[in-house]
């Protein structure tokens, strides 16, 4: 047994995983239409390559990545592009995002080898990163950071340990759990590919102890290999937080404002390992994912392999629909997931769950005043004082909130979860973070304005100097001419005088 460490705080929310953990992953029928947003990742949106009316095949590039941080988007099935327009994004605001709408033809016909399958063990680290990037693989845990960039981190920093995050500490979610149970071999294969790409020494497949079947499957798939081992950690939320998993397994803390790479650790999600294996070994881009469809307000909770771009309404319908007492539909888990404005938004690469909660499950009550019980302080895994931060945020003292550690907050929600007064602490912090960004943007804008004004003044000044110089030059030239004329005249006169005297 490996020596494990403990991170402070954390909570034990009720798991609710039993509804789906023993049911195998179902493949849903292809919806009539898919709504594939070009922005499904952190970074710049992808740029569509196809036009309305184009026939596309499964796996064909729909939009290419642009910029240093971006990811391409591929067609999840074969069909016709019927529209490229603005559709609601899977975000609480429901704001529109550029979306490629595909009318599916039901044939689900693959493009001829989108990328040629290759023996991963013969690829160089750079080639792996290129393939992963080209396949549009992003962090599948919900962060959706383009994976290829993380693979290149190994070049800048010496990575000793790769952690594969199988924490899945959010209640209800079992998509990683099922993936580990059913596709352990591919996960281990993907892990080995990542390991080679970042040239790390060892990888740990880190799984919470409430997933015994997943642990067994992974152990079997790993075999006796020394470089990849399964590490079982206690079930405690937020074990799946990158910073806290690093601490739990290695005992190291990621320095404030830094990355795991700063302490020689890289963390990838189990689902990402699976996607990497698909991309590199089989040449398949990321066009579907496993989603936990659950919650007390869902008729038939289960894990479903969903094509990217399928609407939540399609997925929910496949799972028997919502019950009458559905109060809130969440994308992701209930701790950190986001409320969906309605079901007409698509599943994207970062969608780990579609959770329909009843009012009883949400258990939101009227907010009472803070009684300073300190439950939030004890629950905070980052060592913050949520009660003081919230009080300062409420008073509008943004600087004080930052001093208290706003930027060290990972928004895990432990504080709000335990608060007996039901104070929406995370909401306060998100508000403060938003204000901070707005303020920084305003500051940046001011500086930018200042710079432009200074530039303009400088330009005007230069023009004035140039004008004056030109004028002076002209004046000097004119004078020189005059002088030359006078000189000529004088010379002529002198010559005349000389002639006369001679």
């Amino acid at each position: 047994m490996m020596k494990l460490f403990r991170f402070r705080g954390g909570v034990h929310p009720e798991g609710h995983k039993e509804a789906t953990t023993h049911k195998s992953i179902q493949v849903m029928p292809m919806p009539k239409r898919l709504y594939v947003p070009v922005q499904q990742h952190i970074g710049a949106p992808a740029e569509p390559e196809v036009s309305v009316g184009d026939k596309v095949l499964k796996g064909q590039l729909l939009a290419h990545s642009q910029g240093a941080v971006s990811a391409p988007i591929h067609a999840p099935t074969s069909g016709t592009v019927v529209e490229i327009g603005e559709y609601p994004a899977p975000h609480p605001s429901g704001l529109a995002v550029r979306t490629v709408v595909i009318e599916t033809d039901g044939e689900d016909k693959w493009i001829d080898n989108p990328v040629v399958p290759l023996d991963p063990s013969k690829l160089s680290p750079d080639e792996v990163a290129v393939r992963v990037g080209a396949a549009g693989v992003v962090g599948m845990g919900g962060a959706t950071f383009p994976s290829a960039i993380k693979l290149k981190l190994g070049k800048r920093n010496k990575i000793e340990t790769l952690l594969m995050n199988g924490g899945e500490c959010e209640p209800y979610l079992t998509c990683d759990d099922r993936l580990m149970q059913e596709r352990a071999a591919d996960i281990v294969e993907g892990t080995r590919i990542i390991l080679r790409a970042i040239q790390a020494e060892r990888a740990h497949l880190v799984v919470e102890d409430n997933k015994p079947d997943a642990i067994a499957a992974l152990q079997k798939a790993c075999g006796p290999s020394a470089d990849i081992t399964v590490v079982v950690v206690p079930s405690r939320y937020p074990m799946g937080s990158e910073k806290h998993m690093i601490q739990a397994v290695t005992g190291k803390e990621v320095p404030a404002g830094g990355l795991g790479a700063d302490v020689g650790v890289l963390v990838h999600n189990m689902g990402t390992a699976y996607a990497v294996c698909q991309a590199v070994k089989h040449g398949r881009p990321l066009i579907s994912r496993v989603v936990t469809v659950g919650g007390g307000a869902l008729s038939e909770p289960q894990n479903v392999e969903v094509p990217i771009g399928a609407r939540l309404s399609d997925v929910v319908e496949f799972c028997g629909g919502l019950t009458e007492d559905a109060a809130r539909v969440i994308m992701g888990g209930p701790m950190m997931g986001q409320v969906m404005p309605h079901l007409d938004v698509p599943v994207v690469k970062g969608t780990s769950g579609i959770i329909a909660l009843t009012q009883a499950e949400v258990n939101n009550r009227e907010t009472m005043p803070c009684i300073r019980c300190g439950s939030c302080v004890n629950a905070c895994p980052c060592g913050l004082l949520p009660l003081q931060m919230a009080a300062q945020a409420r008073a509008g003292n943004l600087d004080n909130v930052v001093d208290l550690g706003l930027l060290d907050c990972v928004a895990c929600g432990c504080c709000s979860y335990v608060c007996p007064s039901h104070i929406p602490l995370v909401q306060y912090f998100n508000y403060a973070k938003g204000e901070l960004t707005a303020r920084q943007q305003a500051k940046h804008k001011n500086q930018e304005n200042k710079r432009l004004i200074e530039q303009k003044n400088e330009r005007l000044e230069r023009a004035r100097i140039e004008r004056e110089e030109a004028a002076a030059r002209r004046k000097a030239e004119a004078e020189a001419k005059k002088r030359a004329a006078a000189l000529e005249k004088a010379q002529k006169e002198a010559e005349k005088q000389a002639e006369q005297s001679a």
Partner: protein, 357 residues
């Protein structure tokens, strides 16, 4: 934020609420409270009833006057808890107006003038107790020797009303007696040694609670059980009670070793004078105590020291309330300076060094 649907997570919540917390504390108090009522008879029951009624009335009045929502706050259980705690720290046969004055003072001035639930700097129950102790020393130090309910020692049914509502104890000498700490204080001033004074003192009675004392704080064991229940339920943490009890125990032990004739031992201090009630139920009031574990330990040590000093060298043997109030005043300071270490930072707040050069 204008859009109501922009709700941050978490979208689930632990099964807790302010009324739940208050209810748990009330449950934990009940054994000691019921024991007190049994031990000191019906007058103490009348006193408890007057306290709770006054508490609810003054809370409703305050909420109305300060224009705060009445229903959620009147139902949150906090005022019932405050009223019960005040009743438990009163002499069991105190007249009705002592309870009315104390509870209304605690609720209106101690709680609502500061801004209501969660805003008060001082523990309202201790504020009331100290105010009463200073303003009405006779009523507040008229202690009753145990006269269990329905026993032959108990006053007649009619007399119980005369005691509480008439403010007169018929045949007072038969009922009154000193508390262990008061007795110790008085006898020490008469230059008797501790061993003489405590010759017929029974630790067993103190543990059980078969002593003169405040209505609900005589039984160390029942208060302790209630406190352990609260720790088990994670309503309170062990830091404050352990720090208080350990500090006063260690201090008392050290002094009694130095001069056993003048100073009573640690057990005597921990078992008497409401030390247990204060440690588990009063000082742990979250509103007026620090919110970090390290701050709570400092707070507890402070109370332990001041409590011992006041009892031993001050003129209020039952003066633990002063210790709580003094430390309440220091709580904002403690909370300002004692903070947990932030993940990824040193104690001074600087980012931890990166292992990559």
């Amino acid at each position: 934020m204008s859009n109501a649907s922009l709700i941050s997570g978490p979208h689930t919540h632990a099964p807790t609420s302010v009324p739940y917390v208050m209810r748990q504390v009330i449950y934990a108090l009940l054994p000691a409270l019921l024991f007190g009522i049994v031990l000191f008879g019906l007058p103490s029951l009348w006193l408890v009833m007057v306290s709770v009624a006054t508490g609810l009335a003054s809370e409703a009045l305050s909420l109305y006057l300060f224009k705060r929502p009445i229903k959620p706050f009147l139902n949150d259980g906090s005022v019932v808890l405050t009223s019960l705690l005040i009743a438990m720290t009163l002499p069991p046969w105190a007249p009705w107006w002592i309870a009315v004055l104390g509870v209304s003072f605690a609720v209106i001035i101690g709680k609502h003038l500061f801004g209501g639930l969660g805003q008060n700097v001082f523990n309202p129950a201790m504020l009331a107790r100290v105010m009463l102790l200073v303003a009405f020393p006779i009523e507040m130090t008229t202690w009753i020797t145990p006269a269990p309910i329905f026993s032959s020692a108990a006053p007649s049914f009619v007399d119980t009303f005369i005691i509480t509502f008439g403010g007169y104890i018929p045949n007072a000498d038969a009922f009154t007696g000193a508390t262990p700490l008061g007795h110790l204080k008085t006898e020490l001033t008469l230059h008797h040694s501790v061993s003489e004074i405590l010759a017929d003192y029974s630790y067993f009675n103190s543990i059980l609670g078969w002593n003169s004392g405040s209505l609900g704080e005589t039984s160390a064991i029942l208060v302790l059980l209630g406190g352990i229940y609260l720790i088990f339920r994670r309503i309170i943490s062990w830091h404050i009670p352990v720090a208080i009890l350990a500090t006063s125990f260690v201090l008392a032990t050290v002094f009694s070793i130095i001069d056993p004739a003048r100073y009573a031992n640690g057990f005597y201090h921990v078992l008497n004078g409401g030390a247990m009630l204060v440690a588990f139920f009063i000082a742990t009031d979250p509103v007026t105590a620090p919110s970090t574990p390290r701050g709570q330990i400092m707070f507890g040590i402070g109370i332990g020291i001041i409590e011992y000093v006041i009892r031993t060298w001050g003129s209020f043997p039952e003066g633990v309330g002063f210790a709580v109030l003094l430390m309440n005043a220091l709580t904002p300071l403690i909370d300002h300076y004692i903070r947990p270490r932030i993940y990824g930072r040193t104690r001074s707040g600087k980012p931890l060094p990166s292992s990559q050069g």
